[in-house]
Symmetry: C2
Subunit: 214 residues, 2 copies
């Protein structure tokens, strides 16, 4: 019908895999700007240039769709980080590469980042916490090797806490970056590197801050 409207766009039949990616792209954009709650399946379908039942046929319910978005973007994010971090590099180089990978992803997939960071906490995505935990573990492992390479030791809780701090700091800067298209991701990475690594290095040396009034 629509395909035969004179002058109208000809809707070509596309294989499932292609349509699914289009739908996910559209869903990420819509979820990103509306949030899970205010995004409607109709709008997502329209954004994808397809009708609503197709979305249900291919990707299931709204919750399923959202989870699929989070899963795809989360996997991409994790890949961006671990792909560039080689185990045999010195700790500061690992951190530097990891941060560049991370901020690079955010700069290149701002919508995806917005879904992961701003929406996924409240939406029906219970495995996002798992992804975040994995990233924290990666960072904690990095810190642990750094400590051991100095011939020192640290309690796991302290390493984990530092990793949480570092990840949180990165997320915060990333969120600022997502709202400033003109900013350079590498510049953000360098800023955070300066802020965090110098502190971590001091910790590696065993230095501690002490409250002056106990």
């Amino acid at each position: 019908m629509l395909a035969s409207v004179p002058g109208g766009p000809t809707f070509k039949r596309l294989p499932r895999a292609v349509r699914e990616q289009q739908m996910l792209d559209a869903a990420v954009r819509v979820f990103s700007r509306r949030g899970f709650h205010d995004a409607s399946m109709d709008e997502i379908a329209e954004e994808a240039g397809i009708s609503k039942p197709m979305v249900y046929a291919y990707l299931g319910s709204k919750d399923d769709l959202f989870r699929a978005c989070v899963h795809r973007e989360g996997t991409r994010l994790l890949e961006s980080i671990v792909a560039v971090v080689a185990d045999d590099l010195p700790a500061d180089e690992q951190l530097w590469r990891g941060l560049r990978g991370f901020f690079g992803f955010v700069g290149a997939h701002r919508d995806g980042w917005a879904v992961l960071y701003r929406q996924a906490r409240s939406g029906p995505s219970y495995d996002l916490a798992a992804l975040r935990t994995r990233i924290v573990e990666v960072v904690a492992g990095m810190l642990k090797r750094a400590v051991e390479s100095q011939g020192r030791t640290a309690r796991d809780e302290d390493l984990t806490a530092s990793a949480y701090a570092l990840v949180g700091a990165a997320e915060s800067i990333a969120d600022w970056l997502a709202d400033h298209p003109e900013a350079d991701p590498d510049h953000s990475a360098a800023r955070l590197m300066n802020f965090s690594w110098l502190g971590a290095r001091q910790l590696l040396r065993g230095e501690l801050w002490q409250p002056s009034s106990a």
Copy 2:
């Protein structure tokens, strides 16, 4: 009617101000565990031990109610920080007190924190970003005075970026704290103090990290 059921609980009439606080308390709890979307006004009313039209009469629509929650908890959070930060203290002592105030709030109002951090990004609360910006500004101002007290200068963007990093790190640790009731808020504050202040102090001295492979 209900008040006269034999053996049933006697529902006492209470002044508006009291009921409003009860409703806000209940709403914060429900929003905290369900999220904005999945929280229903019926459940909030039930949690408050009151019927639904009372909520509408006193606090307006669901959006209004949520905003009221965010506003109350956000104000409490800000108060917890600024109340203990005196301008004439040295920078590290200001930061230490601010962090203690912050983590103290989170430890004492975990539900409120969950609403602010996990729900408010997606819910209809457009002034939460403003609150966060104010906190970032407070921290940035703190850093600026610290730099100047060293007879040095720094660009505003770098100070702001460091403030974002610090605030993000604090949020991340706080979120961990919210899920670990046994943890001591002051301990978290000390951990973050060690991680961040040592780095900031290095920055104050003009030290910078440099990538080994430019």
